[in-house]
């Protein structure tokens, strides 16, 4: 496997190989707890931490673990990091931990994490693996936040409600109420709304990609017709 440049790793994680929009992995927590922005950020941060830690650790041991036992080893590593994250959340954001409930321990089974460990971290040096973990985690979190914002706005007519659960007392008045007397649209708060929302986000991503591709194709120079000559006029031919 050819090593990727830093730029490629960043672009892959955030956009072209985004774990939620392109690989469509880790949907269970993605669909279940993105009812509000604060839930989305909480879960996103937890996943980001686990992804960073597991990619780093897997990359460190990649030359010492044999092929046949690698998966159990990865799962052990991921489970340890999930437990750390869980304990941290219990200590610092207990209410949010209770809201997210089972979906924090379930990060262990998030296939995006095991996928990155096996597909990237076990074959690459430490620093690129760490970067890959950060970028994949950020890409996942960005989708979570976009979906959470969409569902919160349509579902409750608010944005950034209950942010104090994550950011402490200073965030109590961050809530933006977009519509007074808004009739809550239960559909968007319930899981089916998450399916529709995620579908729209994927469509938007593909639409942007197609648009960019078309623009690039339009900009590309037309191939030179036969018979024309291009003469080098600057620099030196080595």
């Amino acid at each position: 496997m050819a090593t990727k440049t830093t730029r490629e790793i960043i672009k892959d994680g955030l956009w072209s190989n985004n774990p939620a929009l392109v690989q469509v992995l880790g949907l269970c927590p993605l669909l279940a707890v993105t009812g509000t922005v604060v839930n989305a950020i909480g879960l996103g941060l937890a996943t980001l931490m686990v992804l960073m830690g597991s990619n780093l650790a897997v990359s460190l041991i990649r030359n010492y673990v044999s092929e046949s036992v690698r998966l159990p080893a990865f799962v052990m590593i991921i489970a340890s990091f999930v437990t750390c994250t869980e304990l941290l959340m219990q200590a610092f954001t207990y209410e949010l931990y209770q809201i997210l409930g089972i979906f924090i321990p379930l990060i262990v089974t998030n296939c995006a994490i095991l996928g990155r460990a096996d597909a990237f971290a076990s074959r690459n040096p430490v620093l690129p693996s760490l970067l890959d973990g950060i970028m994949m985690g950020l890409g996942f979190m960005a989708v979570l936040i976009a979906l959470g914002a969409m569902r919160e706005i349509i579902g409750q007519g608010t944005l950034f409600s209950d942010m104090h659960l994550l950011f402490g007392p200073m965030a109590t008045d961050w809530q933006i109420t977009l519509a007074e007397n808004y009739a809550d649209m239960l559909f968007m708060i319930l899981p089916p709304g998450a399916f529709v929302g995620l579908g729209l986000l994927i469509a938007l991503k593909n639409g942007i990609d197609n648009h960019l591709k078309e623009r690039q194709a339009a900009r590309a120079p037309t191939p030179a017709t036969s018979g024309s000559k291009r003469v080098r006029v600057t620099g030196s031919v080595s």
């Binding site: 009739a183 809550d184 649209m185 239960l186 559909f187």
Partner: protein
């Protein structure tokens, strides 16, 4: 090349899609008239509003998709979707409920799947189910009381209830549906006591019985014109009656058959919604299974579910099952031996 790609429903016979849809629209008019006479102006305003919204939404999406707007609008399918929603939604529901329902029906359930002929689910029912799940209170309490056109709020007052949010006193002009009331009252009292409630009137359920009979008449017109076949309505009503006689024969415990048939959206569902040619099963035997499934589900959801009426959910659940039904009910092709159940033919 000016070919426009057409997909199903490929109308058999001499009628074009637009003519079929126009007949469907005409056949709903008796029901709409009965609704207006018994429940006031709300339904009529709803229908006009929903049709206008549906056509506007369809035109907008067709424009965005780069399709010929006039050509596709001319098949009247958007009008029918809006019309069915207008007939099904509570007459006095505030304006944003039709807006959400129509947007969901036309944009999400129909055009995002590829337009008429490609939608696996009945668009109107997707819109209805979505608003029913989203706004349960507004959807179950805004039915007009069947006081007749003269006693109901006047035209302008109805407009202001729907569009300006004017409050109406509960239980004077609005109420829950008879199906809902019967189900809740019967757990505490006997059938003869429940029947004394004014909303049940002298016969089945005041107003509702005539609305359902009017839809039945419209449906029979469609049958006579051979726009729909008998299979789906008959098997659906038959299955509903069978379930009701089997489990609910005792009116002191369960809603009786007369209410099931004449007090909800049963007739509208049987003749106008379940028979949607795009999302229903295609072969004759398939249609029988499809209709029977809807009938059984309607009974199950009405009796043991938490929603008062069930036509939308039953139709959507059976829409899910249509590929399965079609797969197992392929008719024998002329000149070939009967295919084994679900198995592809020798050359397939």
């Amino acid at each position: 090349m000016a070919f426009v790609k057409l997909s199903s429903p490929h109308a058999q016979g001499a009628r074009r899609t637009s003519q079929v849809m126009q007949w469907v629209i005409l056949a709903t008019l008796p029901g709409l008239l009965a609704q207006t006479l018994f429940f006031g102006w709300g339904n009529l305003i709803n229908v006009v509003f929903c049709v206008a919204l549906a056509v506007a939404a369809e035109a907008l999406i067709l424009k965005l998709r780069g399709k010929p707007v006039g050509f596709y609008l001319n098949d009247y399918s958007a009008v029918v979707t809006g019309l069915l929603l207008g007939l099904a939604l509570p007459p006095l529901a505030p304006w944003w409920i039709p807006v959400v329902a129509v947007f969901t029906a036309v944009v999400l359930a129909k055009q995002l799947y590829g337009g008429l002929g490609s939608n696996p689910f009945n668009p109107a029912m997707v819109g209805y189910a979505l608003v029913l799940i989203s706004f349960p209170v507004a959807m179950t309490t805004n039915w007009a009381a069947p006081e007749g056109l003269t006693a109901a709020p006047g035209f302008l007052e109805t407009l202001s209830i729907i569009f300006a949010g004017q409050q109406v006193a509960p239980d004077t002009f609005t109420m829950a549906t008879p199906l809902d009331v019967y189900k809740h009252e019967i757990s505490a009292s006997l059938a003869s006591d429940v029947r004394q409630l004014p909303m049940f009137g002298d016969w089945v359920a005041r107003g509702w019985e005539w609305v359902n009979l009017a839809f039945l008449a419209g449906g029979l017109l469609l049958l006579w014109l051979k726009i729909i076949t008998w299979h789906i309505p008959v098997s659906m009503l038959g299955a509903l009656a069978f379930m009701s006689l089997l489990f609910g024969w005792n009116p002191d415990l369960y809603t009786p058959l007369s209410l099931h048939l004449l007090a909800g959206a049963t007739m509208l569902g049987a003749f106008f919604i379940a028979t949607d040619p795009v999302s229903a099963a295609t072969s004759r035997i398939g249609k029988l299974w499809y209709g029977a499934g809807i009938g059984v589900l309607i009974y199950l959801i009405r009796t043991w579910g938490s929603y008062p009426d069930a036509v939308a959910f039953a139709v959507l659940l059976m829409n899910f099952a249509v590929p399965f039904i079609d797969y197992y009910t392929q008719p024998r092709t002329y000149g070939h031996s009967k295919a084994r159940r679900g198995a592809p033919g020798k050359n397939g």
